[in-house]
């Protein structure tokens, strides 16, 4: 063990004396690990933020949206809406207890001199306030609930913190599309920063402002009767929606996404899972290239140091000693590359995080788990050792007499 410690020191010394080449080789690994860490911590952060938001909506809930279930992104940002009769059909379905409709879109809001892209959410204020208080724990941090008929809005808790450069206070005005709205109240935190940076207003006002059809909604959230299975109710809702559309518009194949919150989490997780696998795959290719760089630099180094290897063997180094010294060198290149990549990756992800938070349409924090860091380190050291194995074995197998004669 003590000997291995010595070999480690020798390996370190060797790396230091060929520092430029060592650094260039290290850079190869840094890039690969940097990609893995930055992209994975970002995507993991997005995943957690989405899950958090889903959980904030409450457990047994069904979301009804127009559009195909297969195309979840299109569903969330697409232009289609639920018509008045669709909403009525949902409300009439057996097992449905309450229905909360809402519409949302991004909009530029001005406050004092500043303009920012924010999310605007329209809700039927009179009917839904009670539901929101009951199911999602809405309450006021400051001010009053907006009164319908007046140009009043409520804003999320984040507005009182840092959505704009100056903190927003109750009673002040914000401008959207040239119209002024009074901030009647500020909500207490809803559990995630995305929701906390929204503007909430009556759906009538929302439709006036955005020009969306009266009586329609982007999404309906369904609370079901107790004791029923969400999946069953979701199936019934879908059937009655299709029946309604067929009766009114004569359409046969209308797509509605009727998704239980559980399924929603599953779908987003599987999408992000695919993205994460792709990230790992591409970053692995980068690391493979870095590994080849290590192999190359090790072979070069062994050629240059053939005499040294011969000398070490002449003065009593076993094959294993030479093997360990060179493997350690390769491993250290991997380790430093990995550590550098992790640090750069976290810094980069943090910058992206800060940048997106300055435009609070979607809030998320990067997630750097210890296991991700450990994975990065182990992966890079392993790459180094594997890449260094053949050169090291070649060095270990050199015959002392031949190694000493070389370059004479």
């Amino acid at each position: 063990m003590e000997q291995i410690n010595e070999y480690f020191k020798i390996a370190l010394r060797n790396l230091r004396t060929r520092s430029l080449r060592s650094w260039l080789t290290i850079l190869g690994i840094v890039i690969g690990i940097f990609l893995i860490i930055s992209l994975l911590s970002l995507s993991q952060g997005v995943k957690e933020a989405i899950n958090q938001q889903m959980e904030a909506m409450g457990g047994d809930m069904i979301m009804v949206m127009p559009g195909s279930e297969e195309n979840i992104m299109g569903m969330m940002v697409g232009g289609e809406v639920l018509e008045k009769q669709d909403i009525a059909a949902v409300e009439k379905t057996k097992g449905v207890k309450d229905v909360l409709i809402m519409s949302y879109r991004g909009i530029v809001a001005r406050y004092k001199e500043e303009a920012k892209m924010v999310f605007l959410t329209g809700l039927p204020w009179d009917e839904s306030l009670e539901l929101l208080e009951r199911y999602q724990g809405w309450d006021l941090f400051d001010g009053e609930w907006p009164v319908s008929g007046k140009k009043e809005v409520a804003v999320g808790k984040q507005w009182a913190i840092d959505v704009f450069g100056t903190k927003v206070k109750v009673g002040q005005e914000i401008t959207m599309k040239g119209r002024k709205f009074k901030i009647a109240g500020i909500l207490n935190s809803l559990g995630n920063k995305s929701d906390d940076s929204n503007i909430y207003l009556d759906i009538g006002l929302y439709q006036d402002l955005t020009g969306e059809k009266k009586g329609s909604a982007r999404v309906a959230m369904v609370m079901i009767e107790e004791g029923l299975t969400p999946d069953d109710v979701a199936e019934d809702i879908k059937k009655s929606l299709q029946k309604t559309r067929k009766r009114i518009a004569g359409e046969n194949t209308t797509d509605f996404a009727v998704i239980t919150s559980e399924k929603m989490i599953g779908v987003t997780n599987s999408i992000l899972g695919i993205i994460q696998s792709a990230i790992v795959l591409f970053a692995s290719i980068a690391i493979l290239v870095g590994g080849i760089g290590i192999t190359n630099t090790m072979f070069t180094s062994i050629r240059e140091r053939t005499r040294e290897i011969g000398t070490m063997k002449a003065i009593g180094a076993k094959n294993s000693a030479v093997l360990i010294i060179f493997l350690t060198e390769a491993g250290i290149i991997g380790l430093i590359g990995g550590a550098g990549g992790i640090i750069l990756g976290i810094i980069c992800a943090k910058i992206v995080e800060l940048y997106t938070q300055s435009n609070p349409v979607f809030y998320f924090s990067i997630s750097v788990s210890p296991s991700l860091v450990l994975f990065g380190l182990v992966f890079s050291v392993l790459t180094g050792c594997i890449a260094g194995f053949f050169p090291a074995r070649k060095a270990a197998r050199l015959k002392p007499v031949e190694a000493l004669r070389r370059y004479e």
Binding site: E2, Q3, E6, I10, R13, N14, R16, T17, R307, E308, G310, T311, M312, K313, A314, I315, G316, A317, K318, N319, S320, A321, K399, P400, V401, L404, E408
Partner: protein, 238 residues
Amino acid sequence: MITEKIIKLENTWKVYQLGKVELIALKNVNLDVNPGDFVTIMGASGSGKSTLLNIIGCLDSPTKGKVFLKGKDISLLSEDELSQLRGKTIGFVFQEFNLLPNLDALENVMMPMIFQGTPVEQRKKRAHDLLVSVGLGERIYHQPAELSGGERQRIAIARAFANDPELVIADEPTGNLDSTTGKKIMEILTDFHKREGKTIIVVTHDPHIAEYSEKIVDIKDGEITIDHKQEEGILWSK
């Protein structure tokens, strides 16, 4: 009294196959080196003296015949066992010094002891003492590149004696040095021989170096031509 030979070569041949041509580097060599000997191997370049030295130092194995290191047939040892035995029993001094350029003087001298697993404190003390004894007490933390040729060779000598080997083999130890420095190097080697009774084998083509020796082996075309105790003043006048 029968003393165990440190090195014994028995009908040793070394043949290199160069394409279709066979090159005989050693032709049926028999050689005994007794403990406490100071042997000089002399010969022109191409005479086979480097090959002989490599075989004596167990760095190379013969094509035919046997080599015994302290009575052990080295062809029966594994590569690792041989490395270990060589590291313990034989010290090397090379013409080109062959110090590890990334390590300082002290670390270079400690190297052979690391491979033998000597504890760190003992290792440091021994290396330090050896460097003092070759007159480099002031330079123990210098890298080889910061030292002169003579100083480097002295480090190499200190390194050769690190594991307290019975035999030290020096291949043209003064070949890359001027004559004054070379003389000093030979004095250090002779000193170890006299003081500690170490067996020393020096390979050289320089007759002046052979003056330090008690036994001279001449080699020509792969054959030992003279193997005798040097009678004082007979071969070369001092």
